[in-house]
Amino acid sequence: MRRAWRWVIAIAVAGWLPVFFIAWWWHASANSKNPYFPPLSKIWTEFKANWIFTLVPVHVVPSLINLFVGFAIAIVLGIGAGTLLGASRTGARYTEPLIDFIRSIPPVALVPIFILLLGLDAKMRIASIAFSATFPILLATIEGVRHTNPVLLETAQTFRLTNQQILWRVRVPYAKPTIFAGLQVGLQIAFVVTIASEYLGSGFGLGAFTLNATDSFLIVDAWTGVILLGVLGYALSLVFDAVERVSLRWYYGQKKLA
């Protein structure tokens, strides 16, 4: 019972501002004649027509597929290369300046280059997403794997574990919280690049939909696209947090007690 109450209070604390905001928007825009700020009621009607669920297969599914494939490639590349470079002092020293340079380029700026190289199809979009999301994951992994607590490393040495065993059983697990921080940034970048890559030469995807709508002066449609993007982005971060909480149970449990 007390648990249930705590839930009710938590939801009320988190939810009152969004509810208030939507109510305000609904009311304030009700009689709007400004074409750029149509009434929320109109946007809502259109939103239902578009996204529950008529246009989802055309514009949402392709975006999400690109996002997930690109992000998955970034995870494999970032954690794989990051583990090797983090474990080898020389390796990191030789590659770090280049990595620092490339990750300093704003990710969206590379999309035109990828278009030149790969054309205008999904391959280009996935490559752009994967490329830009790799760097935060790579850097976080290098950082985490390199700075293993020396007491744990020495303990592992007294067990006479091989370097391989120390890497996979001590250094990588120790780095997991840092790696997750990199994954979070990587996912945000992947989402941005997913949408940005659809601004150019695409008929499908949420980015293309929103841009085409504004170009065709379909302002209500554009608003529904923007709102859906917000909802998707928020949902992604909720899913990510849930995965992180489960994978790093030991880390948060330990922190709570400390």
Partner: protein
């Protein structure tokens, strides 16, 4: 090899230097000592004298500048087989992402034991330290004293012939400390382990040891080796009331303080 067959560890004219910003710092000078098989030896000395440095050399985690260390006749190159180490900082030497049982199983990764044998070892080690029910907990869910029991269980899981401990009870309360001291005596008796311990607690050293090595000076040298002839098995009440106990602790104290 023949000459050291009765010695678990042979320390032969060991010196240790560090390069610091101010030049070369000499920590140990010409330290020689032999740990007899089956003995319990404590290393004591004023704080900062180089006790932990000597222990790191004995475990193969560091290499002496001069001299050599042999474990059962084999010169050291890295941590030797058959030696288990309990480091001072137990809260940071247990892997927080592994359960207690998996922590204890970690040193067995290269033992060639089967899965069921490993599980068996984990169970019996937990039982030995009185933590049978805690295998599924995470280390950070346990009290400091229990965490230190886990690191002792982990140390004995590989059935070592030598156990090396660096101030193992430094950060637990007095009652827990007595319990852990008795646990170490029990483990040593049950498994017949040669045990080496660094401590700053002279009473503890007298209570546990067959022999106490007093380090003194800068660079540190072996000032004296004191034999503790209080009979085994020892008990917190009887042994500490032994007239020898007061005499020996006074003597070791005087040696550590440089009063003798």
């Amino acid at each position: 090899m023949e000459k050291s067959v009765n010695n678990a560890i042979t320390i032969d004219s060991v010196s240790m230097e560090y390069q610091t910003a101010g030049g070369t710092k000499r920590v140990l000078h010409d330290v020689s000592y032999q740990v007899s098989e089956g003995h319990f030896v404590s290393i004591v000395g004023p704080s900062g004298v180089g006790k932990t440095t000597l222990l790191r050399l004995l475990t193969g985690l560091a290499t002496p500048t001069n001299g050599s260390i042999a474990v059962r006749g084999q010169e050291l190159h890295g941590p030797p087989q058959g030696m288990a180490v309990v480091l001072q900082d137990y809260t940071r030497s247990l892997m927080p992402w592994l359960t207690v049982a998996k922590n204890i199983a970690l040193p067995l990764k290269r033992s060639g034991l089967s899965k069921s044998e490993v599980a068996e070892r984990v169970m019996s080690s937990l039982e030995e330290v009185g933590l049978s029910g805690s295998g599924r907990s995470y280390p950070w869910q346990l009290s400091g004293g229990m965490q230190q029991r886990v690191s002792i269980a982990r140390a004995i899981a590989s059935r070592p012939s030598i156990l090396v401990m660096d101030e193992p009870f430094a950060s637990v309360d007095a009652q827990t400390r007595f319990d852990l001291e008795d646990l170490v005596l029990k483990v040593r008796a049950d498994f017949d382990i040669t045990t080496l311990m660094v401590t700053h607690d002279i009473d503890e050293a007298v209570y546990l040891s067959d022999e106490i090595v007093v380090l003194r000076g800068s660079p540190a040298e072996v000032r004296e080796v004191v034999s503790i002839n209080i009979p085994f098995p020892r008990s917190q009440v009887a042994s500490r009331n032994d007239p020898q106990f007061a005499h020996l602790r006074t003597r070791v104290y005087a040696l550590v303080r440089g009063l003798e």
